[in-house]
């Protein structure tokens, strides 16, 4: 027995070696594609001169980042949170209160808000991750609503009145730009790149595989040694962290927040929708979904919703419903299918 390993190391077959090389090449290609797309997006605000369209671009990039954050918990780990407005609100309020009341730099506020949100996510996850499926989703709705109610009645953070950022000269130090939207486009893009890189890094790691295993079948994952509870907690903390950074950036962008304008249920839905529309649990789904959804929402609101006729809602709700039913895997799956079909033909 001595000297013989208990389990013989498998002979690495040339086929396996080849597969590993192809996988590494595919990962490298993804990074090149990412770098190209991000460079293009960084240049885009300079090409758009119209302030209204620049606003649409800022919101699109911000929602792409927020949805990518949601995607980590909802798409990869399969825990459908409909209460992310809570983390968004924590980020927006922490950054705003620290800056407006105490003069703390918004950069620091973003970090502190994000850490606070991650801690809150862990505190919520600890009891709630025992709930499955719809039960979990409904618990997240109720907790976010309770948070909204508390903030509305908490005078220290401005109650229902909200917080107004002071008017300052444009500066990267205070993250305030009164007229220029380009810096905000870059900030939102920066956040998206950060969430994209985290997703990219984690997706093919032990954690990422653990998350997907938990999503597909928690019981089976557990029996295979995946630490289901810790996987969910990690996904929740990362997801809440970046959602709160987005909340802080949003507060600096609109420079006035009140409970309804950052914590209402509408936001929780808006964070989930782009990823669902583009393709949940994919690297590019959130960006593709946001690029479709946000311009349509903004433009239909300006052209159809101005009169309050409700046509914009009919259009928007109908779109969500039809996409959910017709393309459960999201818009991106359209391209995959054509490629698969092409391979079959070729």
């Amino acid at each position: 027995m001595t000297g013989t390993p208990l389990i013989a190391a498998p002979a690495v077959s040339p086929g396996l070696d080849d597969a590993a090389r192809r996988f590494a090449a595919k990962r490298r290609r993804s990074l090149y594609v990412g770098a190209l797309v991000f460079a293009g997006l960084a240049a885009l605000p300079y090409a758009i001169r119209d302030v209204y369209l620049q606003n649409v671009l800022v919101l699109t990039l911000l929602y792409a980042a927020l949805s990518q954050s949601w995607n980590i918990l909802g798409g990869y780990c399969g825990q459908i949170s409909l209460g992310h407005a809570l983390y968004f609100g924590i980020g927006a309020y922490t950054t705003s209160i620290l800056f407006v009341t105490y003069g703390v730099s918004p950069w620091l506020g973003l970090g502190l808000g994000a850490m606070l949100a991650a801690l809150v996510a862990l505190a919520i996850g600890w009891p709630c991750f025992r709930l499955g499926g719809h039960y979990f989703s409904i618990a997240t709705i109720v907790i976010a609503e309770a948070g909204l109610l508390l903030v509305q009645n908490w005078d220290f953070v401005g109650g229902a009145m909200g917080v107004q950022w002071p008017f300052n000269p444009d500066s990267w130090a205070t993250l305030q730009f009164a007229r220029d939207k380009i810096p905000y486009a870059h900030l939102a893009l920066g956040l998206f790149v950060a969430t994209w890189l985290v997703t990219f890094g984690v997706a093919e790691s032990r954690w990422g595989y653990g998350w997907r295993a938990v999503k597909d079948d928690p019981a089976a994952a557990q029996s295979l040694g995946v630490e289901v509870f810790r996987s969910k907690m990690a996904a929740a903390a990362i997801s809440a962290f970046f959602t709160a950074v987005g909340g802080g950036l949003y507060a600096s962008y609109v420079s006035y927040i009140d409970p309804e304008s950052v914590m209402s249920f509408r936001f929780s839905l808006l964070f989930a929708l782009p990823a669902v529309l583009g393709g949940v649990g994919t690297l590019w789904g959130a960006l593709v979904g946001a690029a479709i959804l946000i311009p349509i929402t903004e433009i239909s609101r300006s052209y159809l919703g101005g009169t309050g006729s409700g046509i914009d809602l009919i259009f928007y709700g109908g779109l969500v419903m039809v996409v959910a039913i017709a393309r459960p895997e999201g818009v991106l799956s359209l391209f995959k299918r054509t490629r698969a079909a092409r391979n079959e033909e070729g």
Partner: protein, 292 residues
């Protein structure tokens, strides 16, 4: 607090609670039948309120007289939505849970848009119902008649539902489908038909609640949201799928809300309900009367 004030709080809590139970029971029924959470449930309530409003406007009749007609219309709507939307959402091969959530959410937004298109976003209220503004004096405890009437309708509806589920073939088919969807097909029950009837019945029940609410609640396209949240809490508290859990949980929610309003400012009356919900769900994830 005097004895009389205490009884007053208890009584109004119970009345509100019965109405909450009626609002929630359709949601629970549909979930129990086919494991689908209808995220457009609040919008069903909103539509029923507008239907009552429109019918009163056209016919000049009292909303109470129109109640059965509203329930019938909602029954048709519920069945139609099953055949037109939900049936397709249930066919999804990938991301089943997510498809159901977002298909019914999309439907909710669409229905809000339809209401806004037809009736404008203005707040409306119905004036001149027989019951409007009248109160019942029970030895110093004052109860508004519209709420008393709503509570009676709720009790009658639960009674009727009990008879329907225990004494009729439809009720037995419903129960059988809940137990085993595959097996009922073998004995010749059309699953789609039962599901559609379930959606019709769920919508009709929330339709009754909507018709009752028009007498003492304002109507606007977003009115469903506030009630929907209470309905989810009620159903989760009582146990998803449990019809009589919805009644019991409705009563508890009504009482806790009334009690919270005594202690905290009225704007925070829901805090007690949310806290109770979280407590129950953490101790007993399946709710008070639910099965996991």
């Amino acid at each position: 607090m005097t004895m009389q004030a205490l009884v007053q709080v208890l009584a109004s809590g119970l009345l509100t609670g019965l109405i909450y139970g009626l609002v929630a029971v359709g949601l629970s029924l549909i979930f129990g039948l086919m494991d689908v959470v209808n995220f457009a449930h609040g919008e069903f309530l909103m539509l029923a309120m507008y239907a009552t409003f429109g019918l009163v406007f056209v016919s000049g009749l009292d909303p109470i007289v129109l109640m059965p007609l509203v329930a019938a219309l909602m029954f048709v709507l519920g069945g139609t939505i099953y055949f037109g939307v939900v049936r397709f959402a249930m066919r999804a091969k990938a991301n089943q849970g997510m498809v159901q959530i977002f298909a019914t959410f999309g439907l909710a937004i669409l229905l809000q848009g339809v209401a806004q298109y037809l009736f404008t976003p203005d707040y409306r209220s119905l004036q001149g119902s027989w019951l409007g503004g009248k109160t019942l004096d029970l030895g110093g405890v004052y109860l508004p008649w519209p709420q008393v009437f709503g509570a009676l309708v709720s009790l009658a509806a639960f009674g009727g539902l009990f008879l329907l589920m225990t004494r009729t073939d439809f009720g037995r088919a419903l129960e059988a489908t809940r137990e085993d969807q595959g097996a009922v097909a073998l004995v010749g029950i059309d699953r789609n038909r039962i599901f559609a009837l379930g959606w019709g019945l769920g919508a009709a029940l929330v339709g009754l609640a909507g018709a009752v609410l028009t007498v003492f609640y304002y109507i606007h396209p977003g009115v469903g949201g506030a009630f929907a949240l209470i309905a989810y809490v009620t159903v989760a508290l009582g146990g998803f799928g449990s019809v009589f859990g919805a009644l019991a949980a409705g009563l508890i929610v009504g009482l806790v809300e009334a009690a919270t309003a005594v202690v905290l400012p009225p704007s925070m009356k829901s805090v007690g309900v949310y806290a109770l919900y979280l407590l129950v769900v953490l101790v007993r994830p399946q709710g008070l009367f639910g099965r996991l």
